[in-house]
Symmetry: C2
Subunit: 353 residues, 2 copies
Amino acid sequence: MHNRWGRLAVLGAAVLSFGALAALDATAQDDKRVRWKMHSAFGGRLTGLGPPGIQFSDLLKKMSEGRIDIKFFEPGALVPGLQGFDAVQTGSIESSWNSAGYFAGKEPAAAFYTAVPFGPQFDEFMAWYKKGGGRDIQWEIYKPYGVRPNVCNYVSPESSGWFRKEIKSLQDLKGLKMRFFGLGAQVMEKFGVSTQLLAAGDIYPALELGTIDATEFSNPAIDLDLGFFQVAKHYYFPGWHQQATFVEFQANQAKWDGLNETQKLLIDVACDANLTNTVADNTAAQPSALKKIAEKGVTLHRWSPEVLAALEKAWNEVLAEQSVKNANFKKIADSYLAFRKEYETWRKLGYIH
Amino acid sequence: MHNRWGRLAVLGAAVLSFGALAALDATAQDDKRVRWKMHSAFGGRLTGLGPPGIQFSDLLKKMSEGRIDIKFFEPGALVPGLQGFDAVQTGSIESSWNSAGYFAGKEPAAAFYTAVPFGPQFDEFMAWYKKGGGRDIQWEIYKPYGVRPNVCNYVSPESSGWFRKEIKSLQDLKGLKMRFFGLGAQVMEKFGVSTQLLAAGDIYPALELGTIDATEFSNPAIDLDLGFFQVAKHYYFPGWHQQATFVEFQANQAKWDGLNETQKLLIDVACDANLTNTVADNTAAQPSALKKIAEKGVTLHRWSPEVLAALEKAWNEVLAEQSVKNANFKKIADSYLAFRKEYETWRKLGYIH
């Protein structure tokens, strides 16, 4: 290479031993380069969930002029879709683009970092997460697993679900078979719904065959891609169970500790920037998707205030039950609810609703 | 210096001419270092407005390991507080931490990038700005001035104002003298309010002496610092005139064009990250400030839906008047209102209010 340092190095080499120079190169390399694999729980084409992981990876590469290369791998390319957390824990993969909710089998408390029913919007969540102690508790809870998470991607409010038949009252829910994710499933069970969790690709055929009567999956932009409008004609809002959803970047703790301060900072800054960009992308994508869905002959419904109040009451019961069962769950719930309580006065007073 | 490159350079110097080395240094400097002055329109201690400019400057320095140094200067240190835009335009200062609204004397349309009455929240604004064409129009409108702006700091919803006497109906506004900023002032004038713009430091004495009967300034956290609770006991919400407010980083266009792609990217990424952080900081700061203000014996009021509807109707008149007067204003208003109209269906359906 004929750049200036190359020339200086060549000249220098005349008076330094070859071994000394090689050692210098190796040190410089270790200091400056990060080459990590990042398993993704979401396909690179799954609107709002996968592409932001690719954006994050690309952004870091550009910010660092190629010195931080955290490569996005499709679900299944390294390990199966839902095994990212375990692989990061053992260190077989350095990092994962993942949902905290997929770790809720081991730690039910982790659900708070994806979404919980009747949870906050972006602004309130970020206030609790960054300034209200939310992230500190998260780091504490993940630490025994050797995983260092950081929220990195926002997803717009979900729909409450696709139903093959209209739901005229809560009584109509009784006996329904429905695909449902997370803590919201426990709320639905209280109304006599039989819930199960199905992967994205298995939902459409189950709805079509009548194996399930209803499903929630995500927001209009994502749901439109999955084609549910062809087999269910009643689409309900608001998605009380996931008003704002977050995806996180999970790093193996030992690998993370091996980074220098600038590398750590650049990765966290890329997440913060990705949050702003995913707020813009996701929010912009919903209105036109909703319009397209309506044009397919789907009826858009909004739950009445009474139905929402009944669902919220049931959620508060689930919250109390989980808090008794699990100390970490209680710890996060207490922090979260205390923050939300103080915030509520401000929210009601200060905002146009 | 005794690091390895220092030693190599010294050795190299023995066989390269001094002039050649000096030239190398100068080129390396141009490629890698940015040393800019950044005038701030807001004092470094003015909660929510000044400190985020300092955070932005510090963040960039750390991200670039000192190679991008955009130094924060207090209002008046380089030029008076409101003259940042002009100084950036002439190039006498490279950049400014500023409100687009302070440029509205030249370009009334710029107000859309600070806040307009009955405007969007953070998520909807970012969707319009980044994905709905808002930023493209902004760049086009600022271009003839040789200034390259980027939104860089979010500020929580303002209060509607501090009043010395309770306002029981819109008739009570008639004849009041009030400090008011921006397009909202024109709305207030329609209800018989005589408005004037006062700088932050001049508001308290004017309220105390009775030169004005009322003032709006900002949100609870900022207003608390300014002590208005001592001289006005009625605090109204919501701040319909500024639901979300933005501060921008303005760069001289020629200086901006002289940066390399990585430098440009790092500056824009620092702004995006700053947005997420200011959403967290600002949102977290309001509830406790509101509580403290109430504890000072201030009565918190919320405008009735009828009052808000009357204010919104008056705002729509102002919007129509301004659109007739100014082509750029009309251009932005058209883009903004079309976006908002499509978004409205989604907002009403998808969110818990």
